[in-house]
């Protein structure tokens, strides 16, 4: 028995004394200690930009087999118009009101519709009103100079799963605001100031200001498409600025987004996101949100970000300007690949490194730069962190890597 135990003991002490790490000592200076930044770099200034953008209108597809065909309200003949005029604590419905059933309580309107091709035009002002639609079919909603506040929930609430064509009437200013506490309806969701179960397709040459004070600001449980011409300003103090379950497509327009709550994102997309144009500016100022441990899960942390996307994020054209100032705040935090094929992506993060690292780009997968312009700056961390490979195509004119800043340009 002693001999066997001796064998076991010797087997232990004669093995397992050597590290199997690769020897990188010829590539790594400093003996494992973090190095100081080689120079202090002053980043570019990123601020909300409400100036007009000189952009062409998009081309409306005419081929019904085009997968985007149904995203364009121009491809539907809207036969029935219902005007909804808010005036303080009252609201008046005129037009083809016989096509739908509706109830009015103060300035709160609930529409129940089985009709097709209905076009609602909302205008006026109310500090205690809302517009809620149960529709079995897609519908068009034009905001024609509307200033609507619902102290108890969403200002606009689409409970139907079909398309909502949100048109900002040319030259109009529109504002939607929610209250600080929601009164929920059993069995229904109401995730933000403008909430839609179906896809939201935004067009028109007007402007829309959305204030989120309780949950998120602009939410679709389906997807968003933003078309050239629209001007949108989102300000949310409690949740994400824009949130979509099934994707976001930005074809154009001017989007300004401000979020300030801990852990919140300017854009939170649970599916693919594509930027084809426009100018999107996001300022995220929140810190790290901490989810306490439970019996079944450990504590978790989430930092704020300009864009958080769980699937591939592709930028083909347009401008993305992202700034995060809170602890660990990131510009882009992506689970899927990040593809930059064109356009301009400029990111600045100035937050401190604490529970999270303030990267300009944090990718769980690949970062692929095939074109365009990428500027990434992080005051207190490395600007780019991709767990997958970082691939830059041939033909770039500038690829500068510094401790705080990485610039890749094909221009």
């Amino acid at each position: 028995m002693k001999k066997y135990l001796t064998i076991m003991l010797l087997a232990l002490i004669t093995t397992a004394c050597v590290n199997d790490d690769t020897d990188f000592s010829d590539l790594i200076n400093g003996g494992g200690q973090p190095e100081q930044p080689e120079e202090v770099i002053t980043p570019i200034d990123i601020a909300l930009d409400f100036t007009d953008l000189d952009e062409d209108d998009d081309i409306v597809p005419t081929d019904e087999t085009d997968e985007a065909y149904n995203d364009y309200e121009e491809n539907t003949e809207w036969s029935y118009t219902i005007n909804v005029a808010y005036n303080g604590d009252e609201v008046t419905l005129t037009g083809n009101t016989a096509r739908v059933r509706y109830t009015i309580e103060g300035a709160h309107v609930v529409i129940r519709s089985t009709s097709n091709r209905v076009h609602y035009v909302l205008s006026g002002q109310s500090d205690n009103g809302s517009f809620k639609v149960y529709s079995e079919n897609k519908f068009k909603l034009t905001l024609n100079g509307l200033n609507l506040t619902n102290p108890n929930g969403a200002a606009i609430n689409n409970q139907g799963s079909k398309s909502l064509y949100l048109v900002l009437a040319d030259g109009t200013d529109n504002t939607l605001t929610d209250g600080t506490a929601y009164t929920d309806t059993d069995g229904e969701q109401m995730k933000g100031t403008l909430f839609s179960e179906g896809q939201v397709l935004v067009s028109g040459h007007g402007s829309l200001n959305i204030n989120g004070n309780a949950r998120h600001a602009l939410v679709s449980d389906d997807y968003f498409r933003f078309r050239p011409g629209c001007k949108i300003y989102v300000k949310c103090t409690t949740g994400h600025g824009i949130k979509a379950n099934d994707g976001i497509i930005i074809d154009g327009g001017v989007l300004n987004i401000e979020v300030s709550a801990d852990g919140c994102k300017g854009i939170k997309c649970d599916s693919t996101m594509i930027v084809n144009g426009g100018r999107t500016t996001i300022i995220a100022t929140g810190g790290v949100a901490i989810t306490p441990a439970t019996d079944i899960a450990p504590a978790d942390t989430s930092s704020c970000a300009g864009i958080k996307c769980d699937y591939p994020l592709t930028i083909n054209a347009g401008s993305l300007l992202l700034k995060a100032t809170g602890e660990g705040g990131k510009g882009i935090n992506n689970t899927g690949d990040i593809n930059i094929n064109g356009g301009s992506v400029q990111i600045v993060t100035t937050g401190i490194k604490g529970l999270a690292s303030p990267k300009a780009i944090k990718g769980e997968a690949k970062l692929i730069v095939n074109g365009g312009y990428l500027y990434s700056y992080s005051a207190n961390s490395s600007p780019i962190d991709a767990n997958g490979d970082i691939t830059v195509a041939e033909g770039y004119t500038l690829w500068e890597t510094k401790t705080q800043r990485v610039i890749i340009s094909f221009q």
Binding site: T15, F24, S382
Partner: protein
């Protein structure tokens, strides 16, 4: 001294051929010790500790401590469950950027990040059912074991080659469910203290994860001391962090 020399020679004889024979596969050592307390013919508990090495026996891979209980409602049926604390030496991870071509036309490796190996904890619970059947002095058994392993989040460091700096990195928490299915044959040789055995065990994690083939022998002294020596080949089918490996195993169990 003479005995010690013989023993060292014996260990070397066991280890060296295995390393040479393994080729590209890794080789390692598993050394275990356990104490088992039987309350009666049906119930028992066991406290065990185990050490594993990798990198052709040169690097410590894992230390584990476990406590389990077993119950035999029928002579041919055994139920057991337990907990293990695993202290792992997690293997290094290197990521790469796109390679470039130098002036001589040769491909240049561009490193992205290097996370050196690091020690971390895991918690594991398991429950299993074993059915056995005797044919003469040969016992056939099948064991189905469900295993849940939880790795807490861990902050470690990595070197960022692009920015030439060390930085903190979070290794995310992870939970893994595995179903292990083992078929074992034990042979009780008459009038012999050495009992050989062989087993094959399949690990399923929704898809085939790995298979272990083991061949060994137990040596008992007065039924209180059981020594085991075995060879194990581990074939990996779906695991980024483990490779195929040959193991030499030694264990001792004290029963009281």
């Amino acid at each position: 001294m003479k005995h010690l020399s013989k023993t060292i020679a014996l260990v070397a004889l066991l280890v060296m051929p295995l390393t040479a024979w393994a080729g590209d596969d890794d080789t390692g050592l598993i050394v275990g010790a356990a104490a088992e307390k039987k309350f009666n013919k049906k119930a028992s508990i066991e406290l065990e500790a185990e050490f594993r090495s990798r990198n052709d026996f040169r690097t410590a891979d894992r230390i584990s401590l476990g406590l389990s209980g077993a119950y035999k409602p029928l002579k041919w049926l055994k139920l057991d469950a337990g907990y293990q604390l695993l202290i792992d030496n997690n293997i290094e991870k290197i990521t790469y950027n796109e390679p470039t071509i130098d002036d001589d036309g040769l491909e240049v490796i561009n490193y992205n990040n290097w996370r050196p190996s690091y020690w971390g904890l895991r918690h594991r619970v398991f429950a299993s059912v074993t059915g056995s059947y005797k044919i003469g002095r040969v016992e056939l058994s099948i064991r189905e074991r469900w295993r849940l392993t939880y790795r807490p989040q861990k902050t470690t460091t990595r070197y960022d080659f692009d920015n030439q700096q060390w930085e903190d990195t979070q290794v995310r928490s992870k939970t893994q469910n595995i179903l292990r299915s083992r078929f074992k044959v034990d042979w009780d040789i008459p009038n012999c203290k050495v009992d050989p055995w062989a087993s094959v065990e399949v690990f399923n994690n929704s898809i085939l994860d790995k298979v272990r083939y083991s061949l060994g022998a137990d040596y008992s002294i007065q039924k209180r001391h059981v020594f085991s020596a075995y060879y194990r080949y581990q074939r990996i089918y779906n695991d980024d962090e483990e490779g195929n490996a040959h193991y030499l195993g030694l264990s001792y169990t004290f029963k009281f």
